[in-house]
Symmetry: C2
Subunit: 305 residues, 2 copies
Amino acid sequence: MEFNLTILGNNSAIPSHGRHPAAQVLQMGNEYFLIDCGEGTQMQMNHFDIKRSRINYIFISHLHGDHFFGLIGLLNSYSLLRREKTLHIFCHQPLKALIDIQLQTCGTVLTFEIEYHFLPDKQQIIFENKQTMVQCFPLQHRIACLGFLFKEKVEGRKILKDKIEKYKVPIAQMEALKNGEDFVDANGTVIDNALLTADLPPARSYAYVSDTLFLPEIAAHIPQVNLLYHEATFKNEDAQRAADTFHSTASQSATIAHLAKTKKLLVGHFSAKYHQEHLQELLQQAREIFTETIISEEGKKYEIE
Amino acid sequence: MEFNLTILGNNSAIPSHGRHPAAQVLQMGNEYFLIDCGEGTQMQMNHFDIKRSRINYIFISHLHGDHFFGLIGLLNSYSLLRREKTLHIFCHQPLKALIDIQLQTCGTVLTFEIEYHFLPDKQQIIFENKQTMVQCFPLQHRIACLGFLFKEKVEGRKILKDKIEKYKVPIAQMEALKNGEDFVDANGTVIDNALLTADLPPARSYAYVSDTLFLPEIAAHIPQVNLLYHEATFKNEDAQRAADTFHSTASQSATIAHLAKTKKLLVGHFSAKYHQEHLQELLQQAREIFTETIISEEGKKYEIE
């Protein structure tokens, strides 16, 4: 299954140094999930050749403007382009009223339905399809804020093509084999499932954590994720400012990655005060605790491996 | 006086082909007026090195999203940057409630005051200072929509430096000369004002017209403007679509420029369906009626001469 992440915005609230407010697109199989939608998200999609129309699910972590001010513009464009497909928005409840009053004031009747899924304040599965599961979990910010865990579903057994040919297993038996059943051939001989199948690779996962105070409990919600995007709004020397504003430092984000036994850490949500060279210092601070850290870059696609 | 216009967005509602929703900055002397504020306006300001902090007056033509969805983000950034100076917003009344509910939901208390100036539905002077006068005038769109005329104030006489030296006029007399008074020298000789001063150049003006159905009456509100920005959302062959959506075509915008005896016409607010080569065709259509037409370009500064 395709499983990759494209960063559209890696900055915190004030757009600066060419960086944009929070937004990213996660592809899982045929679905494209939009995670947060800061101002300019639709232009960033254009810029990086991501088709707006592919998105059917939007997840908004919290109701600070840099995480959703781009949503109303995106909805407006969808409607002008005569979208018909229902759009699912996972968000805190007050967002609906904000959207409604804006549409009403502009005299806009959308050409499509929005199905709102209001987020709980605790860990919970909020979306599932055949291939995918999305879970939210609480963060600690100035207002209600959630992280999201996107997990591949891996069920059953992987069929070994060469063994299928060798034992002449008919196509009709494939589902039974995937479910772990043995195969009985025309002579009544039982072929053990383990001879015909292998373990599937472990389920991959991606976690999005923005914005939050340093919160070690997060690690328990995202065990061994393949890729973690964690906010690192501040460098270590600005730890007090991080605490005051309910944000994390480079070292704190790396500590979460370490505690969760993450494979790779992508840091972002950078303060507007940091130029590109400051981000290199921030990276070094994170790497002292968690070596597999990288600085998120807008427009870059990260494979979840 | 400095008098120039920088285009930040020249597209209609759906951002496309690298073009942005409506926004422009007009410099008149020391004041920077922001006219409309589509999504991404603050990023465009960064991109084109226009300091956000210079802006104290914002004019919103109407409440369709592509003309104001960038405003809430700009206000948010001002507050995060701890702006203290009052910001004046000229807009239709419902915008205040939209801004208020968004700030409230985000838990944002602005660090500065907003002074709202609600727009009338007829021609009226809405702003004046020593050097400048701003007048609004009605357009015809799907919702209440106004154009804006920005006019230099030219009062009094221009002092001729060489004549001042020749007749030894003391500095204290300058204001009187500007007001057209004669000068009486130490010997009691009267020096005629006309010998010491000349006519000032005529007052320059700039008019912003977006969005509107073709409306010949507009010309009477903007006589002989030096620069007219008029929407030309559609090419002539899409005239029916223009009429249906209350927009103008290339020829229609050029006709307004011609009727108003405009010096120069800048067309913009282009439909998302047009690529750059289509805009060249649109330009040719306008020039058939009004030769002094140019295609507005984002990031370009136009002097009002």
